[in-house]
């Protein structure tokens, strides 16, 4: 606080405003910090040699202590040849407000950029990802190795000149589909094994060693165990691989754990087993094509994923002249869906946390019973239970149906028929509150849960902010940061709700935060119901008609973020190239909460027993579809 006062006295710039911050930085670092003046862009451009200096100023003097997203863009062919690799950072104040976007550029053939891990530990995994996918060398990064791909992988797949195995054309729609569409199966044209490229100097017989070596390096093996023992029992150091097929990891996730006896010394997450280069697919796709792909990220909360992507594209569309905002009813339905999704996700995550604690599937199924009712609603409205694909740019797919009604089609089909509003009112005002009461009565005082959760996996608030933790993980540590409040979107400003926070930052706090968040969601939903009644029959598409199937999006950048159940989900989308607007995104980046939350896993697990790792991981609540992308 004293810092800020002194700056206010030094300069005339109002650093509470984003413009003031930018002016202050430009004044303090002349010729190093410049305004990003490209059309449709915002924020500042920083000379890469002084990046760490400027970032430290931002964090310490200006209060931008929360790094949300760090990602790279390959501007080959669009910008100057010596500056076509760009790193984009989005930093926020933990007290709320808009993003300070800062960028730095490097030549493509020698992309060396100083690492920001010391300033923002949150950039650790994200820089590794940028190194993996773009080949950017981060000078000073303590552990710079591939994170999503394996060590022997040839090339950096997100670079624009990299072609995937079943490459057909630069962008969709492919010309071979119509009017002369000769059907073929990709795997027949390019049978398995023929699509793998190795570096020239690659020794296939060493294939296994390479990837394993890199994982085990830096884990402190080869230490004289006799000297470690202390005076108690002699213990041995042991490396345990938990996963990728361990049932507690909720998917294909692996933790390389160094144990001293049964105590964890180091823990390193190894991921990428479900990697499919979602972002490269996203760049081949048109803007609209990406919508159903976002369902597949966090497949438990696809409605929230849809909204985040729609927000990012709507921000870009708003840069154009012919933009109409989303109609009110569509916003109401979006919030309805997002809050129901939050309940769906938290029911699942609490159920699984209890599974990890050993309450095998009984509480899980009780939660699933309620979840089922919401999924039935999703199915009737959007057409699918999990892969909803419901949001569109400027609206939603279709208004709510009058009745949730099934039709007899197959043998032994049993039909159901409910009034939509009655159904919603039933589950929101009666069924779910009753269930939450019962669930809390069932679990909150349970001695086993309390013994296993309280004081385990503690994440102190300062560390949570530094590591860029989001969602219930951050709020469990006592930081009341929620995108719905910090940078409101949709109709959240007019809704009345609280942000639950924990006190100690342990597993039990995360569990109670989730429980209370479900209650807050119900509170929001109870405010949504009268709004749904009031807006009945109103338009759900911007401009009153269905959007185009291949919209032309104005050039520029945008970062759309939503508070997904698992935390802040951000989409960084760049439209570049044709000044009249583009049909395919130049860059499509997903800043996934499950991915960044894992940064803190190692620190949280240190010193605990091996059985606790399972619960700590369960309390973060990751989905591998989103972690690996």
């Amino acid at each position: 606080m004293t810092n800020e006062v002194s700056i206010e006295q030094q300069t005339q710039h109002d650093i509470q405003k984003l413009d003031g911050v930018v002016d202050y930085l430009i004044e303090k670092y002349p010729n190093i910090v410049t305004k990003d003046t490209r059309e449709g862009y915002s924020g500042v451009m920083i000379d890469r040699n002084h990046l760490v200096d400027v970032a430290t100023t931002m964090r310490d003097e200006l209060g931008y202590n929360y790094l949300s997203s760090a990602t790279a863009v390959d501007y080959v062919g669009v910008s100057e040849p010596d500056s076509d690799m760009e790193m984009v950072y989005h930093a926020y104040r933990i007290s709320g407000g808009g993003a300070l976007v800062f960028k730095t550029q490097a030549p493509r053939d020698n992309p060396v950029i100083p690492s920001l891990v010391d300033v923002y530990p949150a950039s650790d995994f994200q820089e590794r990802e940028a190194y993996d996918l773009y080949g950017i060398q981060f000078a000073g990064h303590p552990n710079l190795k591939r994170i999503l791909l394996w060590e022997g992988f040839h090339g950096h797949p997100m670079r624009k000149d990299w072609k995937e195995a079943y490459y057909e054309e630069e962008t969709k729609p492919f010309g071979s589909r119509w009017p002369g569409g000769q059907v073929h199966r990709s795997e027949e044209m390019n049978p398995y094994g023929k699509n793998v490229k190795y570096p020239d100097d690659f020794d296939l017989s060493r294939l296994r060693d390479i990837s394993e070596e890199s994982i085990y390096s830096g884990l402190g093996l080869g230490v004289d165990v006799q000297s470690l023992g202390g005076d108690g029992m002699k213990t041995d150091r042991l490396i345990v691989n938990m996963g990728p097929h361990h049932p507690s990891t909720h998917g294909v996730f692996r933790m390389v754990i160094t144990l001293n006896g049964e105590t964890i010394e180091t823990l390193e997450p190894v991921m990428g087993y479900l990697h499919r280069n979602h972002e490269k697919i996203g760049e081949r796709n048109t803007y609209l094509h990406n919508m159903p792909f976002t369902d597949r990220l966090d497949y438990l909360s696809s409605m929230g994923n849809n909204v985040g992507y729609a927000l990012a594209i709507e921000q870009l569309m708003a840069k154009g002249s012919r933009y109409t905002p989303v109609p009110y009813r569509a916003e109401v339905i979006r919030v309805l869906m997002m809050e129901l999704t939050r309940i769906v996700n938290h029911l699942w995550s609490i159920g699984f946390l209890l599974n990890d604690l050993g309450a095998f599937f009984t509480p899980m199924l009780y939660a699933n019973n309620e979840r089922e009712k919401i999924l039935d609603f999703f199915e009737a409205v959007a057409g699918s239970r999990l892969m909803c694909n419901y949001m569109r740019f400027g609206g939603i797919f279709k208004d709510l149906p009058d009745r949730i009604k099934s039709v007899m089609n197959m043998v032994n089909d049993r039909i159901r028929d409910f009034d939509t509003m009655e159904y919603l009112t039933d589950i929101i005002t009666e069924r779910l509150p009753r269930f939450l009461d019962e669930y809390e009565y069932y679990l909150n005082q349970n001695e086993i849960i309390r013994a296993r959760c309280i004081g385990v996996g503690v994440l102190p608030p300062d560390m949570a902010v530094a590591y860029g933790a989001v969602g219930p993980l951050l709020r469990g540590s006592g930081i009341g940061y929620d995108v719905r409040r910090a940078e409101p979107y949709s109709i959240y400003p007019e809704l009345d709700f609280d942000i639950p926070v924990g006190v100690q930052g342990d597993i039990y706090d995360r569990y109670t935060v989730r429980m209370r968040e479900m209650r807050e969601s119900l509170r929001i939903l109870r405010q949504i119901l009268p709004r749904l009644e009031a807006t009945k029959g109103q338009e759900v598409w911007a401009g009153g008609k269905q959007g185009a199937y291949s919209p032309r999006i104005p050039i520029g950048e945008s970062y759309g973020r939503v508070e997904n159940p698992k935390g802040e989900l951000g989409y960084y989308v760049v439209s570049a190239g044709d000044p009249k607007g583009t049909q395919n995104p130049w860059r499509y980046h997903v800043r996934a909460p499950s991915f960044t939350n894992l940064t803190a896993l190692g620190a949280m697990s240190k010193g605990h027993k091996v059985a606790d790792v399972v619960t700590i991981l369960g309390s973060i609540d990751i989905v591998l579809g989103e972690t690996d992308r």
């Binding site: 057909e168 969709k172 071979s176 589909r177 119509w178 009017p179 002369g180 569409g181 000769q182 059907v183 199966r185 796709n285 609209l288 094509h289 159903p292 009984t362 009780y366 089922e372 009712k373 039935d376 199915e379 009737a380 959007a382 057409g383 699918s384 892969m387 797919f397 279709k398 149906p401 009058d402 009745r403 009604k405 099934s406 039709v407 007899m408 089609n409 197959m410 043998v411 032994n412 089909d413 049993r414 039909i415 159901r416 028929d417 409910f418 039933d426 589950i427 009666e430 069924r431 009565y441 069932y442 679990l443 909150n444 005082q445 349970n446 001695e447 086993i448 309390r450 008609k545 199937y549």
Partner: protein, 263 residues
């Protein structure tokens, strides 16, 4: 007292155990008979206890908007003018809007003039690639491709059976009307009739021409209004106006038919 929390939990578990049998007590054997009305209660928001379904002896019927691998709409076999005719005009919008690009279309050509004919020569969907997003059905301007409700598509060999051709994809229009009555009705209202939109347009055109021939001094405004494509007009009209317009169109059609009969 230590252990109280666990005891409370066991009470809840016991309640759930009892609830599992409540349905059995309430409905008895009727729960398992084919024509029950209690399914809706057991699988609705007011249900208590067991929520499982004895698949495949009982299946939860899917809602109207449910989407699975698409099918192509063709005219019914008993259609008077064009039985079995494709609704698809091979415009290619579905192939372009398909996110995983799993639709292949070959457009028909007139053998003599080499000009495209609004009808697909071949139509393939690779159902292994299809991600059931529903875009093809959503953006088809002719209501010719729709999402199916038949989800039991397992087969023993994916390499030979999973590329569906036109024959396998085609299903009659009456099937669509049966599985999605509400949606089909909404689409009918938007088109202005149960026929394919091209047929409706052609009939309208014919009616206009007839009307022009019959009575030359037509008010200009009306002629413009009827010449405009119906798709654009409908969006500006409210339900009542649309209804009035449809009735007017039907009336015109009737007079035209009578006129033809008279000649």
């Amino acid at each position: 007292m230590y252990g109280q929390g666990i005891f409370k939990g066991l009470v809840v578990t016991f309640k759930h155990l009892i609830n599992t049998y409540v349905d059995d007590l309430r409905y008895g054997w009727r729960k398992y008979s084919k024509d029950t009305d209690n399914f809706e209660t057991r699988q609705g928001p007011k249900s208590r206890g067991s929520f499982t379904v004895q698949y495949p002896d009982e299946k939860i019927a899917v809602p109207e908007r449910f989407r699975f691998v698409p099918f192509l709409v063709v005219e019914d076999d008993d259609h008077p003018d064009r039985p079995g005719h494709d609704w698809c005009t091979s415009c290619g919008i579905c192939a372009k809007v398909c996110p995983p690009q799993c639709i292949w279309i070959i457009r028909s050509e007139d053998p003599v003039t080499k000009r495209p004919v609004p009808e697909p020569e071949a139509f393939f969907i690779d159902i292994d690639i299809c991600m059931n997003c529903g875009y093809c059905a959503e953006f088809c301007p002719f209501d010719a491709i729709k999402m199916d409700h038949d989800y039991e598509m397992a087969s023993y060999d994916r390499t030979t059976t999973h590329i569906h051709d036109k024959e396998k994809l085609s299903k009659p229009f009456s099937y669509w009307k049966r599985i999605a009555p509400t949606t089909a009705y909404e689409e009918m209202e938007a088109r202005g009739g149960w026929e394919h939109i091209d047929v409706i347009k052609a009939k309208k055109k014919l009616a206009n021409a007839e009307a022009k021939k019959a009575a030359t001094p037509i008010p200009v405004a009306e002629a413009v209004a009827t010449d405009a494509p119906p798709v654009e007009v409908k969006e500006e009209l409210s339900a009542d106006e649309r209804k009035a317009k449809r009735e007017a169109a039907l009336a015109r059609k009737r007079t035209k038919e009578q006129g033809e009969g008279g000649e």
